[in-house]
Amino acid sequence: MKKIFIVFSVVLTLSFFGCAEADNKVYDIDISKMAADISAEFDASVELTRLTEQSVNDRYGLKGLFSEIYAEASVAISADEFVVIKAIDEESAKQAYDMLDKYRKERADLFRTYAPDESPKLEKALLDRAGEYVFFVACEDTSSAEKIWKEYKSK
């Protein structure tokens, strides 16, 4: 019984260290560069417009949460869009992640009745966080964007 307890304690301790190591990883992502790469990967037939800071706040409600942001969205009725955020700290990044997830769900619901063909793009949209950075992309095929995001994360 004692042995089992010791082994369990060691495993638990190691797992804590593992988590701590993952959380402590410092990311340094060049948002503009990454956004340019993502933008280039987008379907050319979709017209995306870069959003100003004001438009970003209006759209996602992220006011006060980020130090740097790049977002592009469709002018017409299309779910295509992407956002790369450098939050002011990790707590803000978590909050921004939750806000974007809420936005994604609400928009998917809206499109389900308004533009049903667009809704799946939001349902399978990619939303991820790495330290202070948050990335959201909705489009027909997110695999290219995901690849770019992983590349920048691993640098």
Partner: protein
Amino acid sequence: MLSFSTRKNKRKHIFSLFVFITIFMASAGMIVLSAMGVFRENSGFAWLSSINKLEKNKPDTNTIAPISEEEAILLIGDAENKGDDVLNSGNIEEDLTIDRILKETLPVSDEYFEQTLFIGDSRMLGLHLSCQDIKATFYAAVGLSINQLNTKDFIKVDSETSYTVMEAIEKDGREYKRVYLMFGLNELGWSYPSVFIRSVADTIVQLRELCPEAEMCIMAVMPVSEEANVSIYKGNVANERIREYNAMLLELASDIGCWYLDTYNLFSDEQGSLPKDFAPDGIHLYSGKNRILMNFILSHAFAFG
């Protein structure tokens, strides 16, 4: 020796000749004076001239640079004081329906938008996203209908708070001078057009309470493409319904003293549809076309000063 009747005839002829010569001389005099510019607006005879100053000064809008609001007032004139011969003057009681349609003015600068509010649906949102450099306030959302301005809380103040359009207007503290409304597309399927018109009227009443200094402008429902015309509303009558709505909106504008911006004719082709290459889905305009719409708004201004 002339008889009495012959003399009478001769007098008649002389009198007729005199009248003819007098009229001829007077007419010739008027023509000469007019050519000399005596009746121009700065002369003492300006009251004789009915030439509309704005039409007279109308520029080539393709080449002229935007001017400031102050310059526009100087060039167009003080609408409130000049009265009948100045366009978009706001003289509600005397205006006929057609006078509520905003006419072309000199294009104003972006400053015009600083106290301007745009409220509308996804097409208004598209206009906003295409013209983010404009300093106006936009309260617009995908799927927004005219009857949701008190209920749909989509205007995000921060990460936890969202307001409806009416709440946002009440709380944003801006003293709007102009409010533009763009609705009608999401309301095409409503059973009775009169319900839509009543909703617009109710909205304007509420907006007037919230923005007592503002003049209101109802934007016409823009057409949809032939393809969208077939798919979005009962067979192929979306554009027909849109025209019906627009006629009623114009009548409402006249009845309650609002402006009406004819954005339908701006974008309709010979069949009364939106040209195919103006919108990816036949409904929501491309960025470039939204810029055309914004320039149209800038060159059909109202509520100066």
